[in-house]
Symmetry: C2
Subunit: 229 residues, 2 copies
């Protein structure tokens, strides 16, 4: 029986990844991280999405205050607000937390090793992710090698699947519709992306701006818009 | 002013590394991890060693229950006892914690980035370290690349220094004597290596066996032997 592990944040990308993993593997387990982010609504989303996708083994890992930095996601720094995608700053987005995705991948590999799983899915995408260096393919490749050398002493072992790596947000929305079919609205209404922790999205933060643009460009109505005031 | 960060466990290898870093850099800061290991005496050793070496910025990072596994270092599995170095099992030692050194290096890089440091020292040694795959040079190289790609988006940035990588325990003892000079006995009497958490060393665990053999082969008396009953 084939088995995969997915890093499930409850956002649109990790939810799409989890759905893809469920298609490709007999059994999928999930982990979700609570690293002191402002929006605990994300944790609830992950729980609901995992349940609806039929994921039975789902661990929530509490990692408080392990990473330091000035990102507004883990500190009191003010969160940026933007009018449109064109107004987003270039370069590395201020929400970047040094080492966050590296830490997530190590913990995923630690649980995968404990559970006898070698296929790890993550929704990382290098296309439109605010300039985060740890969302790019070249990073994932380097990390996969470091994990395999560190865990197994060979270049092989874990495979990190990043099915959204080269997709625009619009393409990944279309992919989610393809994979989820008539469950798309039900599942995606449970997802949460907004950095400000607003149900349905604030529509002004970096994450909302990109999600909104993706759905608009794909010509698909985002089910979370119905919650927006 | 040049500045380096050292991962200081309070053991003989990280203490030697810290001493080397203090020789080569104007200022050295340190981090020590408490990851639920059995021997909290290690934490006290790190504190004492850091103080005596003149390290002013020293952070103790508590990371409870973040890694799972069956290693006796973090679980109730029975710790192996051995009569001599010849009796040590081959292959990966049962004290191996999947992902431990990867996690340590990420947290070191996170603090280094926050403190404006790019030179990181660790006492990892591939020579006689019980078959841990994450103590080998090829792993450190892969990890350095993953850190730089993940933090800075380029192959360069952090340099991970592993001055003990290709030294036998005997050679690293001689190196410590060279570097510390007449402070060797004072500083090394504060170090702790024993997995069983026995002050002065139980003399029977994997770590004690290797430390004892190193000192014996180097023809140097280990100052902690005076504590042994």
């Amino acid at each position: 029986m084939s088995k995969a592990l997915v890093i499930l944040s409850g956002g649109q990308d990790s939810t799409t990844c989890a759905a893809i993993a469920c298609q490709q593997f007999d059994e999928v387990c999930a982990i979700t991280f609570d690293y002191g982010q402002r929006h605990s609504i994300e944790i609830e989303s992950a729980k609901d999405v995992g349940f609806r996708l039929g994921i039975k083994q789902h661990e929530f890992i509490d990692i408080p205050h392990i990473l330091v930095g000035s990102s507004p996601l883990i500190s009191s720094t003010r969160l940026g607000q933007y009018d449109s995608a064109e107004k987003l700053p270039t370069g590395v987005e201020p929400t970047f937390v040094y080492g966050r995705n590296l830490l997530f991948l190590i913990l995923a590999a630690n649980r995968a090793a404990a559970w006898g799983v070698t296929d790890i899915f993550t929704g990382l995408s290098g296309e439109d992710f605010g300039g985060y260096p740890d969302c790019r393919d070249v990073f994932v490749e380097a990390m996969q090698l470091a994990l395999n050398q560190g865990f197994y002493g060979t270049p092989n072992g874990f495979t990190i699947h990043t099915p959204l790596m080269y997709l625009t947000k619009a393409s990944s929305v279309k992919l989610a519709v393809d994979v989820l079919g008539d469950r798309f609205n039900e599942i995606f209404s449970l997802t949460h992306t907004c950095y400000a922790g607003v149900k349905g999205g604030c529509g002004k933060c970096h994450a909302c701006i990109l999600r909104d643009r993706g759905f608009t460009e794909a010509g698909i109505k985002d089910p979370i818009w119905s919650f927006r005031v």
